[in-house]
Each structure stands twice: as C-alpha cells, then as structure tokens.
C-alpha cells in the first residue's frame, strides 16, 4: 500500500469534522469569510422545496394506490355483517389515516380472497396497536 502524501493527509485530517461542534465549525467557516446564516438559509430553502416536491409525488403515488385498493375491495367478498367495518377500512384506504395505515391495510387485503367481520376487526386492531390510526395531519 502506498503511503499517503502530506497534502492528502493534511486535507483528510482537516476535512473530518468529527469531534467538532456545530459552533466550532461555524466559527471556522466565518473565519474563512463564509456567511453561515446565508448558508443555513440556503440549505433550509433546498430542504423545504425538496420536501414539498417529494410530498407532491407522494400524494400522486397514494392516489394511484388507493385506486388499486378500491378495485381490490370491489372484487373481494365481504360479509354483510361487516359492512360498517368495511366503511372504516375504506376510510383507511382513502388516506384519512396516512401512508402507514394504507400500506398495512393494502398488504393485509392482498393476502386474502375474502374477509369476515373478524378479519376486518383484526385489521383495525392491528392498526390501532401500531398507532397508525391517528389522522393524517397534512396528507
């Protein structure tokens, strides 16, 4: 193995910020003439724009998945007695309770050809246990 040169060692050592606090790094950046407030604001802007764009894509994906699940429900038999539970399941699948609940319910429905009242009760209990039945805030 070849020995690292002086500059490579120096720059690798100096570029490693482990053991330095955010304040220490900020001080160093400022000493180099960097406006850290402006830098932080730029990063915040990227994160906000990125988050908004990803959420938009998320909604599109969720919409497609809901349509798929609606189809699934249509073709699978559900006992009459379970109809009120079916409405609850439908609310879950319509996204009222967020992505985690949709994903769980989707997997649950795909595994079965028909559902009894017990099946739907069991699904909703599972979702409650997993704390997935909190209403989606911004979905």
């Amino acid at each position: 193995m070849t020995k690292k040169g002086f500059i490579e060692c120096l720059t690798d050592f100096m570029s490693d910020s482990e053991g330095l606090t955010q304040e220490e790094i900020a001080t160093e950046l400022e000493e180099l003439g960097i406006d850290t407030a402006k830098l932080a604001a730029a990063a915040d802007g990227i994160a906000k724009r990125g988050s908004a764009a990803r959420r938009l894509a998320w909604r599109d994906r969720a919409k497609d998945r809901r349509a798929e699940i609606e189809e699934l429900l249509k073709f699978k038999q559900i006992e009459i007695a379970a109809l009120d539970l079916k409405d609850k399941a439908r609310e879950i699948l319509m996204g009222r309770y967020g992505q985690g609940a949709i994903s769980y319910a989707e997997a649950y429905f795909r595994k079965r050809d028909s559902f009894s009242e017990n099946d739907l009760e069991s699904l909703i209990e599972d979702l409650e246990d997993l704390n997935l039945l909190e209403e989606e805030k911004d979905g």
Partner: protein, 197 residues
C-alpha cells in the same frame, strides 16, 4: 414504501449542521488541488465549495443522487461521496484542464516507467506539495503539538486514532490540536488567497 421512508428520514435531518459540516468538508477537499483560479475558493464555472455542498444536498432531495438508507445508513457519508465525485468531475473538466495540470493527490502514483510528460507533471506536483508543506511547517513553528502533527502527516498518518497512537495523545487532544490548526490555517494563502498566486 421506500420513498415515503426516505422522505420521512430526510425531513428529520438537522440540515444546518450537515450543511456546515459538508461545506467544511468541501473546502478542505478543494484545498487538495491546484485550481486554475489560483484559489480553492473559486472553482471552475464560478462555483465555490459552499456551492458544491449545497448542490450535493439538492441532488439528494431531488433524487438525482438518490440516497438508499438501507445500503448507506449514514446520509452525511453519502453526501461526502457526492461532493468527492463532483469535485473529481470539476478536476477533469475542460475548463480546469485548459490552464493548469492537476497535481495528483498521491505524488507517488506515477507509472513505473513515466513518459516525459508524466515526469514533468510529477515534478510540478512535487514542487507544489513542497511549497505547501513548507508553508505549513513555517506556520506551526514553535508549537510543539502542531509540529508533531505535521510529522504525522509526513509519515502518512492522518486518522485521529492513529495520530493518538503514534504520539501518545488521547483522541480528544488530536481533535483539539485540529482546532488550533484551523485557526492558523484560515490565514494561509493556500486556503484564502482569493485569486492571488
């Protein structure tokens, strides 16, 4: 779904902290090379190390360089790879190549039978490394810890753990010495020469 999880993880990141660390990283990575502008603060295309850091962050958010948290749990490491790759791309860019040859990071990586052009490059690289090395040694003269650190670099040792082992320091002392070197290095012309050569 994977995308939902990535979004959730990205939204939890302390972007201010990671941006400062990544900018700091990009600055020192840029210092490794001799840029056409004469300053590691002025990269080809009018970019700065800050731009490199912010671009890397943007690439992760937009999915241009998608982050796979299962494969690479550490987002900061993923971002550093993007900065490395982008700096490497700049080094190879025509704009950079037009005026100044790039000193290789390792000066001993010339082929066994170098042709005249390679010999010339190696000579230029060695001269530049010596210049920077002398500048650092002069800067730390009289500070025993920093002089010891320079000797470690000369020996190819740069990991705080290895430095601690070599010098008998503990790792926290190696990090404290690093802070001292930062303060001094900020005044060095190779770091802040702002276009002068």
């Amino acid at each position: 779904m994977v995308q939902d999880r990535i979004l959730e993880l990205l939204e939890r990141v302390d972007w201010k902290d990671i941006t400062f660390r990544l900018t700091h990283y990009a600055i020192w990575k840029a210092c490794r090379y001799d840029w056409k502008s004469g300053s590691p603060d002025q990269l080809p295309g009018g970019r700065t190390p800050q731009d490199m850091a912010l671009n890397a962050i943007e690439k992760v958010w937009t999915g241009v360089r998608e982050w796979d948290p299962d494969k690479y749990p550490n987002l900061y490491t993923h971002l550093k790879w993007i900065v490395d790759s982008d700096i490497d791309h700049l080094i190879k860019s025509k704009e950079h190549d037009k005026s100044r040859r790039m000193p290789e990071a390792r000066f001993d990586q010339v082929s066994e039978t170098p042709n005249p052009e390679e010999q010339l490059i190696a000579k230029e690289n060695k001269a530049l490394e010596d210049e920077i090395r002398d500048e650092f040694y002069a800067m730390v003269e009289g500070d025993e810890d920093l002089e010891t650190l320079m000797l470690c670099f000369d020996e190819g040792i740069d990991k705080p753990q290895d430095i601690a082992e070599q010098t008998g320091w503990d790792v926290s002392k190696a990090n404290n010495v690093k802070k001292r070197l930062f303060r001094k290095a900020a005044r060095l012309k190779h770091l802040t020469r702002k276009g002068e050569k």
